[in-house]
């Protein structure tokens, strides 16, 4: 049920060697896949008032350690830059507006549900998967806890339960997968947002909407939809009133990340050919050198006798 089409590995016995090879052709290699039908969210940081209700709704929905809704009105947390962690899939941070220093703007951060997720490409067992509806989901049962996904994510999103000795899991935003697919509802954070800072829709529609907002108030908005093209596009996209370099969102090119390793990987394993060829070459070498040695030995014997 993944969006990426993977031709899974076959194990072939070549000689006595068991070689693992893949002739996977992932869609992440071709950027032709159209993600406009995927679910997405547009985060309009101009409309965001930094009320942190989304944090509460998320904790509540995902049974994370939480407090009463009222406690989230506390603005003192903004003094520190926070990141999502094992007990918070989303956090809101606040930054001074570079144009009007006494004004602030807030930005909600969480997993971006990338079109070509590096985390899923990295995961050794496919515990992280891009679903066809858009969300990147995590299956703790498969996970071996290698944390390669954390190395791979360009937004530094996956968090780990380091303090859990027995069955630690990777923690990140689920995009309320069940809620938005089988239950047909909006994600919990979007549902609670009082100010239309969060809009939940199909990705294609969101890009339209974002363009309209920029066109309607070109002075107010930065002319850039963050996530439309970044690393091949993301499910969650942002609008801002100031350059994105003043936010915590990293500056990224439009080049998706997974092909960087997948191309190498698939070249090395192209239909088994390189490993089998190497095997054959070495076997041939072994045989030839052995024959030569035997010949030399025979000749020596003849000389001796």
């Amino acid at each position: 049920m993944t969006l990426q089409r993977r031709d899974f590995f076959k194990i072939a016995a070549a000689g006595s060697a068991v070689l693992v090879a893949g002739k996977a052709t992932a869609s992440t290699e071709s950027t032709s896949a159209d993600f406009s039908d995927n679910f997405g969210v547009l985060v309009d940081t101009v409309a965001c008032i930094g009320c942190r209700k989304c944090e509460w709704a998320c904790n509540d929905q995902n049974h994370l350690p939480t407090q009463e809704l009222k406690a989230f009105e506390d603005k003192s947390v903004f003094a520190r830059h926070r990141r999502p962690d094992k007990s918070a899939y989303t956090v809101v941070n606040q930054y001074p507006d570079p144009d009007e220093p006494d004004k602030k703007f807030a930005i909600k951060v969480q997993c971006m549900h990338c079109n070509a997720p590096a985390c899923a490409s990295a995961c050794i067992v496919g515990a992280l998967e891009k679903q066809k509806e858009g969300p990147v989901t995590y299956d703790a049962w498969k996970c071996i806890g290698c944390r390669y996904c954390m190395v791979a994510c360009p937004f530094q999103i996956p968090a780990y339960e380091y303090d859990n000795a027995l069955d630690p899991v990777v923690r990140k935003c689920t995009f309320c997968y069940e809620r938005i697919t089988s239950e047909g509802k909006k994600p919990a954070c979007v549902a609670i947002c009082p100010n239309e800072a969060l809009t939940f829709a199909k990705r294609g529609e969101l890009i339209q909407l974002a363009r309209e907002r920029i066109l309607a108030q070109p002075d107010k908005y930065e002319h850039h939809i963050y996530g439309e093209h970044e690393i091949g596009g993301t499910g969650w996209m942002y609008l801002a009133g100031a350059p994105f370099t003043t936010t915590e969102l990293p500056t990224l090119t439009s080049e998706p990340i997974p092909p960087r390793t997948e191309k190498i990987q698939h070249a090395v394993f192209k239909g088994f050919v390189p490993p089998v060829a190497l095997y054959g070459l070495l076997a041939l070498g072994m045989y030839t050198f052995n024959e030569r040695k035997k010949k030399v030995a025979r000749e020596e014997d003849r000389h001796e006798s």
């Binding site: 990141r83 490409s121 496919g126 071996i144 390669y148 780990y160 390793t261 190497l278």
Partner: protein, 420 residues
């Protein structure tokens, strides 16, 4: 007995030195137990920004690289039939076998759900796009191949000698038959396994270098290169022989054996070429990607890069290019240490020094328990190695007390006949 026939080394297992090593190993085991009981968070300084530490950089990445002597020596002696080097294939094989075993033990400490380590074997979880998947599968299969390659040694040791005491005596003929079976199957086809080992090694040694290619925005430009897998492969091939030299010199010191100076210096003669190739690719890569300015930026990263390239690569290339250095055990050992240290430093640089989290608020330095586990594993490896060479026919060398000078470094006539 001819020069190239391996015999169990006559030595006591426990000496003053081994007792110290044993103590450190026990400390490491305690730290390992602490990790299992209290979790990675308690035992390491890892966090959400720094997901990988020295257990990956040293135990796994450096461990795999330094175990490369197994396949490079096998390729030289068994594939290219340079018979002179047969005396070192067994020590190299044991190093590789133990090296990989301890890589896996080290990796298990780092896996949050170590009991799921077998998951990548399930076809339903195969993830052909994951570099780590390929590394994992190759390492697993290669480890099996290494144990198969160990079979001849096992057969040689026990065949015709199984003599279990008392009640167990009934099992004697059974074990004999088992050994004969192993001899008839695995041992006969061991060359096929040896080639498989070479292929598998090339695959995962290079793939280890692909791992960090997935983090373009977090890696320092000096090490972020699409040819990283090639550099890893070249350096693994280059470090193989120096590692054998390093370990052989240490073993002969410890067991008071005559070092195989002639064989080792012939082996070292390949290094300037192999390591030189690696050096050329490394410099070419930096030049083509136009990242020289980063080498001059004066950061910790640039300093580490210079140490790696000058001390760990260039210096040993120059040293080992000199016949005089290759002829002396001290020279060989010094140069071998530089190569081994240089490649290990490269792995540490790639996995730790080059890694920069996006929102770093701290830097990573290993916790005491992390260091204890790593050092403890190395000590355990040394001890198991010692146990094996004392009990199995691995090393072919003469004790210093009775130097068999009549037997040249080349094969004695008897052995040469035997090898035909």
């Amino acid at each position: 007995m001819s020069h190239d026939i391996a015999v169990p080394v006559k030595a006591k297992f426990f000496t003053k030195g081994t007792k110290v090593v044993f103590g450190i190993m026990v400390a490491g085991m305690l730290a390992y137990a602490y990790r299992l009981l209290f979790g990675i968070g308690a035992a390491t300084n890892l966090d959400d920004q720094w997901p990988w530490g020295i257990w990956i950089a040293i135990d796994v990445a450096s461990g795999v690289a330094l175990a490369a002597g197994g396949f490079t020596t096998a390729a030289l002696a068994d594939v290219f039939h340079k018979d002179k080097f047969h005396v070192i294939t067994r020590p190299a094989l044991i190093t590789a076998m133990l090296g990989y075993t301890f890589v896996v033990i080290g990796l298990l400490a780092d896996l949050g759900r170590y009991y799921n380590v077998w998951h990548p074997m399930l076809p339903s979880m195969w993830q052909g796009n994951s570099v780590l998947f390929e590394v994992g599968m190759c390492v697993m299969v290669y480890l099996t191949v290494l144990y198969v390659e160990f079979m001849p040694i096992l057969v040689e040791r026990f065949r015709g000698k199984v003599n279990l005491p008392g009640m167990l005596a009934k099992l004697n003929s059974l074990s004999e038959r088992l050994l004969t079976l192993i001899d008839k199957t695995f041992v006969r086809f061991v060359s096929l396994f040896i080639i498989a080992g070479c292929v598998l090694s090339c695959l995962h040694q290079s793939s280890l270098g692909t791992l960090m290619v997935i983090a373009p925005t977090k890696m320092h430009p000096l090490w972020y290169t699409p040819i990283s897998p090639l550099l890893f492969l070249l350096s693994a091939i280059a470090v193989g022989f120096p590692m054998v030299i390093f370990e052989s010199v240490l073993a002969s010191r410890s067991f008071k054996l005559k070092p195989e100076t002639n064989v080792l210096s012939s082996l070292a003669a390949y290094t300037p070429f192999l390591l030189g190739t690696y050096f050329a690719f490394k410099i070419g890569d930096i030049t083509i990607r136009e990242v020289w300015p980063f080498a001059l930026e004066g950061s910790v990263q640039s300093l580490m890069w210079w140490i790696e390239i000058l001390l760990g690569v260039l210096a040993p290339v120059i040293l080992l290019a000199m016949p005089k250095v290759r002829a002396s055990i001290t020279g060989l050992f010094t140069a071998a240490c530089l190569v081994v240290g240089g490649v290990a430093l490269n792995r540490i640089n790639v996995f730790l020094v080059a890694y920069k989290p996006l929102y770093s608020t701290n830097t990573y330095f290993p916790a005491i328990t992390e260091i204890m586990v790593t050092v403890g594993l190395i000590c355990a490896l040394v001890l198991v190695y010692r146990f094996i060479v004392i009990n199995f026919p691995v090393i072919a060398a003469h004790p210093i007390e009775q130097p068999a000078m009549t037997v040249g470094p080349n094969l004695s006539p008897v052995a040469a006949k035997r090898n035909k």
